[in-house]
């Protein structure tokens, strides 16, 4: 691990809650780590498990997924469906031996700017401790 290494954390957020929460963190001048790359989705239910795999393939060290709290979904039940999908996804990643510390799920509402900035800082801190995800990135190098 080089000394200048900084984790890349791909962050999938829901348009209606967490994206607005991140915006609030910005307008309230809460400082958070610059390691996240936010990708806005219409709903956490839109987040296909394929996104997580794809992020790791392309060099992400962690994936952070955040949507509306249960009961707050803009589409009424998108996040409830997402929750079941994430349960299965997490179990499969565990079975395959993917480091599940690197896949983080959260609920973060539009008013929780402070929670968002803390979340990002916490996640960045913990990923810095465990280092780059070379195990997955190595898969790219071994062509047959």
């Amino acid at each position: 691990m080089s000394e200048n290494w900084e984790p890349k954390i791909i962050t999938f957020v829901c348009n209606w809650c967490t994206y607005a929460g991140a915006d609030l963190a910005g307008t309230s001048r809460f400082k958070y780590a610059p390691n996240i790359r936010i990708i806005k989705t219409p709903c956490s239910g839109r987040i296909d498990p394929m996104f997580i795999v794809s992020a790791f393939e392309k060099g992400a060290d962690a994936v952070l997924i955040s949507g509306c709290h249960p009961g707050d979904c803009h589409y009424n039940e998108g996040n409830y469906n997402a929750r079941r999908k994430f349960t299965m996804m997490k179990k499969l990643l565990e079975t395959i031996g993917v480091d599940t510390q690197r896949v983080i799920f959260a609920w973060c509402s539009a008013s929780e700017g402070i929670k968002f900035s803390r979340l990002v800082n916490d996640v960045t801190e913990s990923i810095k401790k465990i280092g780059p995800y070379t195990e997955y990135h190595k898969l790219n190098q071994k062509e047959r």
Partner: protein, 284 residues
């Protein structure tokens, strides 16, 4: 199996079905699928413990779907796949005539000994059929007892690094023939995600990256749907233990959503529904 042949002849002769899918001898002691369109062909029908193929797979093929009504010879475990197809609205009950076969056990894919899936089978006697042939078999596994798979315990006992190394080894043999997809009765998408190239989500070359992505996606698309027939693993030319992935998700669905696939056509598959009190311990 004269009663099977007679029933098949009757169905075809009376034009009750356009096509009947069953088993014929493969020339040795094994069995292979047989597509019966006229009463003469029905003479070749057999049923024994070597009838491993899940014939329900063929019901989703476009040329079979084009038939008005199809009869299928199915064991209890195969009928579970049919039940999933019904609950996913892929066909209506009237479109298929189910010839249910009672079955004590089938052989393991290598032809020696009893198949592993039969030990936890709850449907030796078909649970959904138009006619049931064969003598009733004593059910051994309690109906309400969750199925625990023995193979998966070994995997669960490993550390995360060991599991990663294990699957790297296993997936390295994958040649991406997609036999697992073709044999699966529930992989019926008209166009599979791996065949899309705008955007191309999954590397189609047989390299570690593509093999991981493909096998993750294949297992996930069967989450809460896999009925444990074991066809993917049986047809895999590289002997990858694919059922370990499916079984791990089956057990999760059982534990978290109290769900077992393929028993009740009226029930909703777990990923199409939710409960407000679902577990969310892993979400911050």
């Amino acid at each position: 199996m004269q009663e099977l042949i007679n029933k098949a002849k009757e169905l075809i002769e009376n034009k009750e079905v356009d096509l009947l899918i069953g088993y014929q001898s493969d020339g040795e002691k094994g069995a292979k699928p047989l597509f019966v369109k006229n009463p003469l062909q029905a003479e070749q029908l057999i049923f024994n413990q070597y009838c491993l193929n899940n014939l329900v797979t063929y019901l989703m093929r476009p040329d079979v779907k084009a038939c008005k009504k199809v009869a299928v010879v199915a064991k209890g475990c195969d009928i579970r796949a049919l039940v999933m197809l019904l609950s996913e609205n892929q066909m209506s009950r009237e479109d298929v005539y189910i010839i249910g076969m009672t079955c004590d056990h089938v052989v393991s894919p290598d032809g020696t000994g009893e198949n592993e899936k039969c030990a936890t089978c709850k449907v030796h006697n078909p649970h959904l059929a138009d006619i049931v042939l064969g003598s009733p078999v004593q059910e051994k596994y309690p109906k309400d007892k969750p199925v625990k798979h023995t193979q998966i315990e070994k995997l669960n006992a490993m550390s995360q690094e060991e599991r990663w190394a294990f699957w790297q080894e296993e997936f390295s043999r994958c040649i991406r023939c997609y036999a697992c997809r073709q044999a699966c009765p529930l992989c019926y998408c008209e166009r599979c995600i791996v065949d899309y190239n705008t955007p191309q989500w999954i590397d189609t070359r047989s390299n570690p990256r593509g093999n991981f992505a493909w096998n993750i996606v294949r297992a996930l698309h069967l989450a809460g749907r896999c009925i444990d027939c074991g066809e993917c693993e049986r047809v895999c030319p590289a002997n990858i233990p694919l059922m370990l992935l499916n079984q791990s998700l089956q057990e999760e669905a059982q534990e978290k959503f109290e769900w077992e696939a393929g028993y009740d056509p009226e029930s909703e598959p777990p990923l199409t529904t939710f409960r407000k009190e679902d577990d969310e311990e892993f979400i911050r």
